[in-house]
């Protein structure tokens, strides 16, 4: 320390201060670096990889490389030339030997339904009977589909290196044989409904949380500290209870031989048990329960900071209590309402476990489809595209939330 001072004695103080400050900043950055590197590996790269998978079109170029090359100069009009047919025949033989043909067949089947059969059966016949004549005649002879332009535009559209197919499919769009963007066929156009359902459930849960959370936050904010801390346990205990415990408990409460139905039947209100679970009602019930604390906590922290003097001033100026509430109190809670609603909505649209356990087939949200395409049908492109759309919605909302929360420096319902 002293040595450094002596050595730098001839350097002006200002510059020395600046230098030491810079060193301090570098050291600070150095401390953040391990976490950033860790998150890069466990979070950023995986997410970037997922987004890349939503446009990556590797299957056909890898399995049918010569066909892709031969089709490069085909203008999409009429049928391609003999070279393309020959390349396809060669590629199919090679791919069949290597066992990679189903990969390309699966990808092409997304473009044209039934293409898997076309490709696999042609390859099989090709192996059985190496026929004389041009490759074009042979292929069309084996499978007439090769004489149709659509088969070739399908291959060309899947020739990579990137495709908009999955992202378009995630919003119920597709490209026709001419490459124009059109609505997807009815039987495949389900994702817009799923997104609408996800957002509907999100909005419904947010409204329910606001309606239920507001009086609680108001009560907690206006009670003496000791009593409000005590009552806070009723909010924090469920908050800290495992999500699965709570979901499980709701099933026990709401199922047809559960507590609610049992009591209602015992009281003679109903004869047949009501269907309260494995439907939308159960989803709303369980999700509102899980997310309610996320509404109460930011509301509470904002309400706590509202001075009662305003309400007293309004009353002394002659405002009836209702007017004072609507015109004076409520506007001051808007930051809390905004933060709480955004937080609940952001968390709600990403929910997976609760709807999966307490919802029916018609109540599954977008996350369930992402999971389904990842693990069940292994359509990773579509899973990634749906994930990318959900991620984008979440990030936009989170940015808005960040701006709101930063302005107020609240902890906004985080677990503290």
């Amino acid at each position: 320390m002293t040595a450094a001072f002596v050595a730098g004695a001839d350097v002006p103080l200002k510059r020395r201060l600046k230098r030491s400050e810079r060193a301090r900043q570098l050291r600070a950055l150095g401390l953040v670096m391990p976490l950033l590197a860790f998150l890069l590996f466990t979070f950023v790269i995986p997410l970037a990889g997922m987004i890349w998978k939503s446009v990556d079109d590797w299957e056909v170029p890898q399995v049918l490389p010569h066909t892709v090359a031969a089709l490069e100069h085909w203008n999409g009009q009429g049928l391609p030339d003999e070279a393309a047919y020959a390349a396809l025949a060669a590629d199919m033989r090679a791919a069949r030997d290597a066992g990679t043909l189903p990969v390309a067949a699966k990808r092409l089947n997304y473009v044209v339904n039934g293409f898997r059969t076309t490709l696999l059966s042609t390859a099989r016949k090709l192996k059985e009977q190496p026929a004389p004549g041009t490759a074009k005649e042979t292929l069309i002879g084996l499978t007439p589909a090769w004489g149709e332009r659509e088969s070739w535009t399908a291959i060309k559209s899947a020739s990579g290196p990137v495709t908009s197919y999955y992202l378009l499919a995630a919003v119920d769009l597709t490209r026709n044989a001419d490459g124009a963007i059109v609505s997807a066929p009815e039987d495949q156009a389900i994702y817009r409904d799923v997104f609408i359902r996800t957002f509907t459930i999100g909005i419904g849960v947010t409204v329910l949380c606001l309606v239920l959370g507001f009086p609680v936050a108001y009560l907690l904010a206006n009670l003496p500290t000791g009593r409000s801390n005590l009552l806070m346990i009723f909010v924090l205990l469920p908050f800290w209870t495992s999500l699965l415990v709570r979901t499980c408990a709701w099933i026990v409460i709401l199922q047809s031989e559960g507590i609610v139905n049992g009591s209602l039947q015992w009281l003679g209100v109903i004869d047949e048990p009501l269907r309260l679970i494995y439907n939308r009602f159960g989803v709303y019930m369980a999700m509102t329960h899980v997310l309610l604390p996320f509404m109460i906590l930011p509301l509470y922290s904002v309400m706590r900071s509202i001075s009662p003097a305003y309400m007293r001033a309004a009353a002394s100026l002659g405002a009836p209590p209702t007017t004072a509430f609507w015109r004076i109190y409520l506007p001051q809670t808007i930051p809390g309402i905004g933060a709480g609603c955004l937080l609940v909505f952001i968390l709600a649209i990403g929910y997976y476990i609760t709807p999966a356990l307490v919802g029916g087939a018609a109540d599954q949200m977008i996350s369930a489809f992402i999971a389904f395409y990842t693990t069940e049908t292994v359509n990773w492109g579509l899973a990634s595209a749906l994930g990318a759309v959900l991620l984008l919605s979440t990030l936009v909302l989170a940015t808005v939330y960040g701006k709101l929360a930063l302005g107020r420096q609240t902890t906004g319902g985080l677990k503290n």
Binding site: L212, V235, W240, P321, L391
Partner: protein
Amino acid sequence: MSAAHSPRTASQRIAWITTIVSATLVFIFLMAPILAIVPLSFSSSTYLTYPLPGFSLRWYIDFLSSARWMSSLKNSVIIGVSSACLSMVLGTIASLGLAQWKSKWKPLVLALVLSPMVVPVVITAVGVYFFFAPLGLTGNYLGLILVHTALATPFVVITVSATLQGFDMTLARAAASLGAPPLLTFRKVILPLILPGLASGALFAFATSFDEVVTVLFLAGPEQRTLPREMFSGIRENISPTITAVAVVLTVISVCLLSTLEFLRRRNERLKGNVE
């Protein structure tokens, strides 16, 4: 300030009573699942219905004697403790850096550090699954610990940063001016003062991992099934009374975590009071 709530007029009193009544109903709603499930776990019947035919501990015994449940408990503890430790180290060091770092990039870096908390877990799970599978990080503990650490670190950073905000940096400077090297200053001055904050961060991290099921669904092999994972399949198939016993055990653990946190928070406030 808020203690001064004194309804004066009749209509104010009615509004206040309405608030109390509706808030009470919401409190009942919030506590209903816990209240409903605790008695059922002590039922002697295999059916999850009231009234209870009798009291018994058989479902707890069932839980404790089941190899499957015990191995899932062990897995949860292994993964929870490991990711809590790892996220503590990474999160605390980063918080120390973030507290001193001034840059226009700081909000962006902060947003990045906190983003695992915001991004839907399904997306994280799918992304990590794609990335980890070719690296051989699926179907083993390491992959799960890494993901849970990423998910838990934001909570550590928030808690520790909040503690550091209340920390008087002149104390560190005083130590330095008395000749203490940085590490000694950290060990002897900073660490004891921020320890309650660190402990809360560790508990948050552990709780995050202990309750996480989505990434486990994607990444875990049969050997790594955790308690929530086992509950998930149990609820899916058929809710046995054993699950209610597990649920009560988990709730008791939550209560312990919550009370420890509350204790730490109070102690931290007291310490802060002393420093000031």
